[in-house]
């Protein structure tokens, strides 16, 4: 930052997950921004963005909920920082659709009883780190480089897709996570499943689906030699972390037929010999760790797949 330039400051939309199952994402985001001396002010009384279920069955409701949140965010200064990939995707999609479709915009404005705020810039945390704070400065700010940590950066579905909407990075071959990891001193591994779907919100209704898809992701990361996976979405985190043990039980033992009965033989992708635990980190957890934030204040206690042995092994604790 050049001298005299204003301190970076953002309004903040955490979203439901970050107040519950993804609480460590929220905690670490706040800790990271504090460490980087970047302002972060939560939008008061925000609502759920509707996530996938809302647009799944009722696009108008989904657009209206997001438009409502965008107009609530108008009241807080600074671009809107979003950590959850799903919320980010919904908010960006809403802005995109309503800018392009006048009919929908008018309907939404009736629904929220006010104008839709379409010009508030919505920024994902990754974008803020890599572009606004800047990779060079991020690298400078590192106090404890994540030396020797092999990380599989996992983008999931919603961060970059569909083309032209999130405007975060190339929708098929993004590099923003790798760039951030390199700046933090970690080693991003090249792997094949960084943009495959984890099963997302089927975690509630059809957990079997999640097990199959998430297994493929974990397996691919292990083959690539990753120590851990980095995510930017609480849903992905939930599926890969919380259900990791379950996945191992379902796919690890060759004679497991528990889920095979339900879904047929497709479930058995063959048992992988490598069954290492893969801790799942949020991007903000890794970044904050590199900035020297004490690990106690990064919410590691909330994580199911314990990351501490790995961090100890790499002398990062």
């Amino acid at each position: 930052m050049t001298p005299g330039k204003k301190r970076l400051s953002y309004s903040y939309y955490p979203g439901c997950s970050l107040h519950a199952s993804g609480r460590e994402y929220d905690i670490s985001t706040r800790a990271l921004f504090k460490a980087l001396n970047v302002g972060l002010k939560e939008v008061p009384d925000w609502f759920c963005c509707g996530a996938t279920p809302a647009h799944n069955v009722d696009e108008l409701l989904s657009l209206s909920l997001c438009a409502k949140n965008l107009s609530l965010a108008e009241e807080v200064e600074g671009d809107l920082a979003v950590a959850c990939a799903a919320c980010f995707s919904r908010l960006k999609t809403t802005q995109h659709h309503l800018k392009e479709d006048d009919t929908k915009r008018k309907q939404v404005e009736v629904a929220i009883d006010g104008p839709a705020a379409l010009n508030k810039p919505v920024k994902h945390i990754l974008e803020i780190l890599a572009r606004e704070y800047g990779l060079a400065k991020l690298e400078e700010s590192v106090k404890k480089p994540l030396m020797g940590l092999k990380v599989a950066p996992y983008y999931g579905c919603l961060l970059t897709r569909p083309p032209g909407v999130p405007e975060l990075d190339d929708c098929e071959d993004p590099s923003i996570m790798e760039d951030v990891l390199r700046a933090l001193g970690a080693e991003p591994v090249k792997w094949s499943h960084r943009m495959e779907c984890c099963g997302a919100n089927f975690t509630l209704s059809r957990p079997g689906v999640v097990l199959k898809l998430s297994n493929a992701i974990l397996e691919s990361a292990r083959i690539a030699g990753a120590d851990c996976i980095m995510v930017a979405c609480p849903l992905c985190h939930g599926n890969l972390d919380i259900r990791q043990k379950e996945i191992k039980e379902a796919f690890g033992a060759p004679d497991s037929t528990l889920f095979g009965n339900i879904f047929g033989s497709e479930l058995h992708g063959g048992s992988a010999p490598d069954q290492r635990d893969l801790p799942i980190f949020y991007v903000t957890q890794l970044a904050a760790l590199a900035m020297g934030v004490a690990s106690e204040s990064l919410g590691f206690e909330s994580v199911i797949t314990d990351p501490k042995p790995l961090l100890r092994d790499k002398q990062l604790l």
């Binding site: 519950a20 759920c48 799944n56 009722d58 409502k68 629904a111 929220i112 059809r206 879904f263 994580v303």
Partner: protein, 194 residues
């Protein structure tokens, strides 16, 4: 249903339904030339009785009822892979949204009740609390779906990890949420919105 003879005529092809799908999704159905790229990349394709390209094909033939009768649309994960890679700018993810909406409106002849139930509870939660209340969502899902023991071991663990909250406070401005729901319902009643 799958192998039932398909009679094609002006009467049996429900083009009105297709037009509704096109209006809701903002995407052309006829543009699809059935290359199958959507099905090739769909992570959920193996769970569907009609893979994505066939969903569009059935729409082209005016056979919306065949789609709604199946569970394909409820197994779409909204990952947008199809939309991203379609060579022809068919927004299949949006078409899936539209189909689910129409199925939902018709109170779902679909067999896939679990996903519908989860969606319904999720949206109910928003209306009641303003935000998600994950414990209630999970508990209610298990109760209503009759899977009392589903993820039984996971719940307490998550509570102990602080990931599930026992209690949830409502938004202060919860009345505004109700207003949004009400106004949308009114618009639909008056025919001002689909």
């Amino acid at each position: 249903m799958k192998n039932k003879l398909m009679h094609l005529s002006n009467e049996t092809m429900n083009i009105g339904f297709v037009k509704k799908v096109e209006a809701l999704s903002g995407s052309s159905v006829r543009r699809c030339f059935q290359c199958g790229k959507c099905s090739a990349g769909c992570p959920m394709s193996t769970f569907m009785e009609h893979p994505p390209n066939r969903v569009v094909r059935l729409l082209q033939l005016g056979q919306g009822q065949r789609i709604l009768a199946g569970r394909s649309i409820w197994y779409c994960a909204s990952c947008e892979t199809c939309t991203t890679r379609c060579p022809n700018k068919v927004d299949l993810a949006a078409i899936m949204d539209a189909l689910r909406k129409l199925s939902w409106d018709a109170d779902g002849p679909s067999k896939e009740s679990y996903v519908q139930l989860a969606n319904r509870l999720f949206i109910e939660n928003i209306r009641t609390y303003g935000r998600q209340y994950e414990l209630r969502l999970g508990a209610a899902f298990n109760m209503k779906s009759g899977q009392f023991l589903k993820d039984l071991m996971l719940g307490p663990k998550l509570i102990s990890k602080g990931k599930l909250k026992m209690f949830h406070s409502k938004n202060k401005n919860i009345a505004e949420i109700e207003g949004i729901f009400k106004r949308i319902e009114e618009m639909r009643k008056k025919g001002e919105a689909l």
